[in-house]
């Protein structure tokens, strides 16, 4: 996020799009609630009437995959009603004229209503409320990024923030809420194909040289593959071996039947995890790892704050912390990585990574954390970014046209399926489904279906339904609700039986390579026979340890 969690308490307008904040980031949901009660206008764009949408002053209930049209129409209103922040645009940005021309000409709220299903008047009201607020913050999450147009969506959000001058000040900003506890840190540390730690570039010779010196090896200049590309390459035979640490792509990735086929065709698969996950069951070697409560180290949260984790209990049996396992393995591969502990590893990171330059476990011990960029040992950290200038100089507007989602509904697959998280579970359920209380609260997967659609299909809550997409099919339980948009169905992805990702589309954004988990076309049919098991089929393995 450009800004910090608690700044939203003092925002005057909060625009949430593609984030079910109270469920996926509950404590930020509470901060937003405090902002709302203090008088901020809350605008929520979501195909479902989530708790946050229910609390909102304006709920834009748009069809999944139409975010760019919605955002462009808001900017159309801002431009034509002259609500833009002229001073900010003139001093801090470039490319405004092209964007303004595009949205003014092609994205009237009336046209956007045709695309998004949101009444034009509501779009205009939201645009005015956001543009007129002194401090406006935009919050978004995977509902924006998990699309074939994910990058377009994000750039459109940046356009809206810049056109209203809501960047570089307290209580404003472009704020992606990061899903997993250390997804920010994993990116910062360059668990990414094109980067070296701290967003230095594999493609940049000077950046490479610095790491080559420090590590004493020559680094490859060949660009690496993203997760989705690796899975495809595994299926095609380009990738022969994979080493998977603490990930469960057999639940989290799109088009699971394809993922399984890909992992099975590897010559060698190593999985390092805390449980024998669906992915680990396919491995040749499984390495037992310590859980977060069993090790020291740091996580970087969504507001770029590096914070200290402490070992509370010993790891069970012979399991070991991931850093110890990697160290030993790397030594066997001829590149020893031995450290007294995570604090020493952080010192190495700080020495090579300018944005982490001032981070050390010693400084973090106070509990305040440090928000990067934190370039040196005396730097207090950075609560919000882009205060005086953007890292690239001027902020670049991008004129972006709406493109439909990769997969459209048709007669055979008439319903849009969108997937997401729920409050009581985390990611692939590996952990939370082993918590008795959480499991008891939401023991199994389900699908939310609009009440009028359900009436037409003759469905009631609790009925078993079969969902079929162009990739797979599964049986789950219907929850009939008025809060989902007509023609749309929602399914949480945490559950291994009836895993939503059997259905989803792996088509991905051409730049960010993020799969379109938020939109695919499905058919919903009642399952007549009583007692049909709620399990996936079409090639999904259930639990067996045997290939």
């Amino acid at each position: 996020m450009t800004n910090s969690n608690w700044e939203f308490e003092h925002s005057e307008a909060i625009f949430i799009i593609g984030s079910n904040t109270t469920e996926a980031h509950p404590v930020i949901g509470a901060v937003v609630e405090r902002g709302r009660q203090a008088g901020a206008t809350l605008i929520v764009a979501d195909p479902r009437q989530t708790e946050m949408a229910r609390r909102a002053d304006i709920h834009l209930q748009h069809i999944p995959g139409t975010d760019v049209a919605l955002l462009n129409a808001m900017m159309h209103v801002i431009v034509t009603e002259e609500l833009q922040n002229r001073e900010f645009i003139a001093e801090r940005t470039e490319g405004y004229a092209e964007l303004a021309g595009l949205v003014a000409k092609e994205y009237s709220p009336e046209r956007a209503e045709q695309i998004t299903g949101v009444p034009a008047g509501q779009i205009a009201a939201a645009a005015r409320a956001f543009a007129k607020a002194g401090r406006g913050a935009i919050l978004y999450s995977m509902g924006i990024t998990q699309h074939t147009t994910g990058v377009d969506n994000v750039r459109s959000i940046a356009n809206l923030a810049m056109i209203t001058g809501n960047i570089g000040r307290y209580g404003t900003g472009v704020n992606p809420l990061r899903g997993q506890s250390n997804v920010q840190g994993a990116c910062d540390m360059a668990a990414l194909p094109g980067n070296l730690p701290g967003y230095q570039l594999v493609a940049d010779a000077a950046h490479r040289a610095k790491f080559e010196n420090a590590w004493g090896v020559e680094l490859s200049t060949r660009p690496g593959m993203t997760l989705t590309e690796m899975i495809n390459a595994a299926a095609d035979g380009g990738i022969k071996a994979m080493y998977i640490m603490g990930e469960n792509p057999m639940i989290s990735d799109p088009d699971l039947n394809h993922v399984e086929e890909a992992l099975r065709s590897l010559d060698f698969l190593v999985v390092q995890d805390i449980f024998l996950t669906e992915t680990a069951r396919l491995a040749d070697v499984v390495l037992p790892a310590a859980a977060y409560a069993e090790k020291d180290g740091t996580f970087t949260n969504t507001e770029r704050r590096v914070q200290l984790l402490r070992r509370a209990v010993p790891a069970p049996g012979e399991s070991r912390a991931d850093w110890q396992i990697i160290g030993d393995l790397s030594a066997r591969l001829g590149h020893p990585l031995s450290y007294r502990g995570p604090a020493e590893i952080m010192d190495e990171i700080a020495g090579l990574t300018p944005i982490y330059g001032g981070v050390s476990h010693e400084r973090l011990a106070s509990g305040a954390g440090l928000q990067w960029p934190c370039p040196d040992r005396t730097h207090p950290g950075t609560p919000f970014l882009h205060r005086e200038r953007f890292s690239r100089g001027r902020g670049q507007f991008a004129a972006i046209s709406y493109r439909p989602a990769a997969e459209q509904t048709d007669g055979e697959y008439p319903v849009i399926l969108t997937t997401g998280r729920i409050l009581y579970h985390f990611h692939t359920g590996t952990m939370t489904r082993r918590v008795a209380g959480l499991h008891a609260t939401v023991p199994e997967g389900y699908i939310e279906i609009n009440d009028r659609d359900a009436a037409e299909m003759g469905l009631a809550s609790g009925d078993k339904v079969r969902l079929t997409s162009r990739r797979g099919s599964l049986v789950t339980v219907a929850r009939v609700l008025p809060t989902v948009l007509r023609g749309v169905a929602f399914m949480p992805f945490h559950f291994a039986e009836g895993a939503a990702n059997v259905l989803t589309n792996a088509a991905f954004d051409p730049v960010a390579k993020i799969p379109e988990l938020k939109v695919c076309a499905v058919r919903i049919e009642p399952v007549a026979a009583a007692g049909a098991p709620a399990v996936a089929d079409a090639g999904q393995t259930q639990g067996g340890g045997v290939r």
């Binding site: 070697v285 991931d322 509990g367």
Partner: protein, 360 residues
């Protein structure tokens, strides 16, 4: 400085911003005033009257938590009159409170108990108020039908902190004061169990309850605050980065509580508060496993497993080049581990094929 106020608290000079309360001024002066209903995240309510102080020139005692400080004020927090008034407040509360501290989960972590001790209040000193909570018509059944929270309203002192945090911070408003005749209690609409209310089991009400009226269901009977260690760490369940204290007794995690951190300011959600059983699950992997010829897994030593991984990766690299190997690091592992993982992939194996599920 127009927007600063100068006043004296217990003889100490202090400068505070305009709008500060007497309580805030006392804090700034390093003087502690006891409070029960006050909480920094919540609007002042002045409900418990525990924070009474004497202000020169004012008629009667004032509640420090809800009275604004003003320039030149002379505040005294420890006079005989103040102490006597606080003692009366406590006598009334304790006289209605079950004195089963022996078995109460909150013993050692209870403001009412701490203040009763500090002010030597037994609850037997108020004429006509024997310590018989059952007699006052509030004798209530435990609400423990949900998996997370136990409500024992017999221990409730009606400070209203839980109600206010649920309304003012969480925005669910699952609980409220309900009056029937002379008695008031804190409960859900229509007095239904919590799980039938809009409650989302964040347990933030439990965190700020000053008594044992709200308790976590999970750690009950496993140890009280003076029996376990608190280990400060960061929640693993989402990117908010809430600070948590894990409660550790005899090498086992018996519970968790919200901690005051810059990202969460003492708040958590249901997962961070109650979602830690899995750490000690019997399903945890405890040894390396190697797939045997018949397709099943067999246990292996670390040396055996790591030797096998290293030799197979080396073979594949020799036969197909380093880019035939791909690595997935993890958004659930630490920075240090992700750093080492990508260093191993890049420096030891020689490929940039490293990613994680940032996008999922």
């Amino acid at each position: 400085m127009a927007d600063q106020l100068r006043l004296t608290v217990d003889g100490r000079d202090v400068l505070v911003p305009a709008g500060a309360t007497i309580l805030g001024a006392a804090e700034a002066a390093g003087v502690e005033i006891p409070t029960l209903c006050h909480h920094p995240l919540l609007k002042p309510s002045g409900a418990c009257r525990m924070c009474l102080v004497e202000v020169e020139g004012a008629r009667g005692l004032l509640t420090a938590c809800s009275t604004p400080a003003s320039g030149g004020m002379i505040v005294r927090t420890r006079t005989d009159q103040v102490v006597a008034a606080r003692r009366t407040v406590l006598e009334l509360l304790v006289s209605e409170h079950p004195l089963d501290c022996l078995t109460c989960e909150s013993t050692g972590d209870c403001r009412l108990q701490d203040y009763a001790y500090e002010y030597s209040v037994t609850g037997r000193d108020v004429a006509g108020l024997p310590n018989t909570p059952a007699a006052d018509g509030r004798q209530a059944k435990l609400d423990d039908s949900n998996p997370f929270l136990v409500r024992d309203l017999n221990k409730c002192i009606l400070c209203g902190r839980c109600v206010r945090i649920c309304h003012e911070v969480m925005g669910y408003g699952a609980i409220d004061f309900v009056s029937r005749g002379a008695t008031t209690k804190v409960t859900t609409a229509f007095d239904v169990p919590l799980e039938e209310s809009p409650c989302v089991f964040c347990g933030n009400c439990l965190t700020i309850c000053p008594t044992g009226a709200l308790q976590a269901k999970t750690g009950r009977g496993l140890g009280r605050s003076f029996q376990y260690d608190r280990v400060r760490t960061i929640c693993t369940f989402c990117g908010v980065g809430c600070s948590l204290d894990l409660h550790v007794r005899d090498g086992r995690i018996i519970g968790a509580s919200a901690a005051e951190g810059p990202a969460n300011r003492g708040l958590v959600c249901v997962k961070g508060h109650f979602g830690h059983d899995w750490i000690q699950s019997p399903d945890r992997l405890t040894t390396p496993l190697i797939r045997a010829g018949d397709g099943t897994f067999r246990r292996a030593t670390w040396d055996e497993a790591l030797d096998l991984v290293a030799s197979r990766l080396a073979e594949i690299k020799a036969a197909h080049g380093p880019d035939a190997i791909g690595g997935l690091a993890s958004a659930k592992c630490t920075n240090e581990e992700n750093y080492l993982f990508q260093r191993m992939m890049r420096a030891a194996i020689g490929t940039n094929n490293v990613d994680h599920c940032a996008r999922l």
